[in-house]
Point group: C2
Chain length 302, copies 2
Amino acid sequence: MTFIHIQEVIARDGFQIEKHFVPTNEKVNLINELSTCGYSKIEVTSFVSPKAVPNLSDAKEVATSIKRQPDVTYVALVPNLRGAQDAIAANIDEINLVMSASETHNTKNVRQTKTESLQQFEQIIHETKGTDMLVNGSIATSFGCPFEGSISENEILSIIDSYVTMGMDSITLADTTGMANPKQVEKLVSKVCKLFVDLPLTLHFHNTRGMGLANVVAAINGGANRFDSSLGGIGGCPFAPGATGNICTEDTVHMLTEMGLQTNIDLDKVIALSKKLPALLQRADIPGQIVKAGKVSDLHQP
Amino acid sequence: MTFIHIQEVIARDGFQIEKHFVPTNEKVNLINELSTCGYSKIEVTSFVSPKAVPNLSDAKEVATSIKRQPDVTYVALVPNLRGAQDAIAANIDEINLVMSASETHNTKNVRQTKTESLQQFEQIIHETKGTDMLVNGSIATSFGCPFEGSISENEILSIIDSYVTMGMDSITLADTTGMANPKQVEKLVSKVCKLFVDLPLTLHFHNTRGMGLANVVAAINGGANRFDSSLGGIGGCPFAPGATGNICTEDTVHMLTEMGLQTNIDLDKVIALSKKLPALLQRADIPGQIVKAGKVSDLHQP
């Protein structure tokens, strides 16, 4: 049976754009619960400026307060050298470095050119030498940029090559604003899997335009076996108000399970945790569908 | 370029479960607008008991008031011989007959055994002899029943065989409560396309559990090229309150277009019509995503 790794991102990609600040102890409690659900990785926070992302201003506290499980890789996003140093001090397992494939998006997102981002990544990787820290390189807007439009496959392959050359352990292709379509995904993923055979590859999809789960299936058809997802489908794109966010963990796992694929995720526990989100986030409109509709296996009485 | 037929069902599958009665002239106006959008078929109403489905009590008026376009096939669902006679009187192009693959679901849905449904279909087909009326046979719960669970492929193939033998012109496999998964869809559709080569096959998906568009791609991979969809994603399943309904026309067409497939649908016009639904239905929560997020090709200014 094909095994698919599920990587939870609600505590970073989900919480960062929520209006309501999730109290630190609630973040820690949720991550501790998620830690026993069978995820391969959990992205717990971002060591970013508290001014830039107030919702994650408690990064250090969260990272050092959670109860870690030995079979889970705990990840933090870091935007710069100082963030990397904070992550090392907090003994995070893996740091996630993000550059956009689109020059315009990178400039708007991190106020650096792509060349500057790559130079900074080299410094950060140098900083991690002598530690056990893993480094994942994410490529934002891999499937399209809301400012520049389509991104060439060659540009993505070239960035992956730069990432691998500078010593990154794994990479993520991120569909930051939900522009990917299944045909494009299968084509690019197939190429990456053929060219970079032993490189762990994560697909990070948003469901902004309803194509999230179709893209998951397309990526699996192309050879991928690792996906970021967010409990309840929380997260999203500031350019599409009202649109749904990251692909929803429980909807994704439910589909993969129905397809006969193995994920190791305790789906019932994840669904139970998702049901607590409206109270935790003080919002009623959680995008996930399985919480509303139930699993296919939940039969009604005739 | 592969051509995919899109068949609009909002006026039947969508409106039938809405709380608010859509006034007859508004139904007619909407269908007239939809008629110029490039659909292959439009299901305009159901000749059903006004007591059973009050929202479609104006079936005759709708069917006889709409302005028909020559390149569109206008369809009405009919539940019995009397409905078929009404449809013939209204000069509908095609009637849609529905039986569930699940005995339990059929009993609950139409208060008949499957044997009784098939006998009735033969009477109805006899009634249409000598007219130009086309007959489509739908198989509800083709991919799973909320009461009985999984449905065997052999049962579906056997029903298709019965439908074809009695003279139906085309068939629809309906995922009535959103239980289908992409692997199952590709497998069943491939089989049907191989066994019934010249039989027009429609897939009718609901997005109840978020798998709707993934199932569309899977069905195309299996050889299908006809899909029912509902403007705005209106419609749904009474067993899953709060869950989304039929797959959304504009989200489906947007995805197919991005994949380089041809649909003949005027996507911008469909999106404009979908934006009128909150006022028409007196509800704010329209499931479609493209209306909220915009098309992938709608770039922002850098």
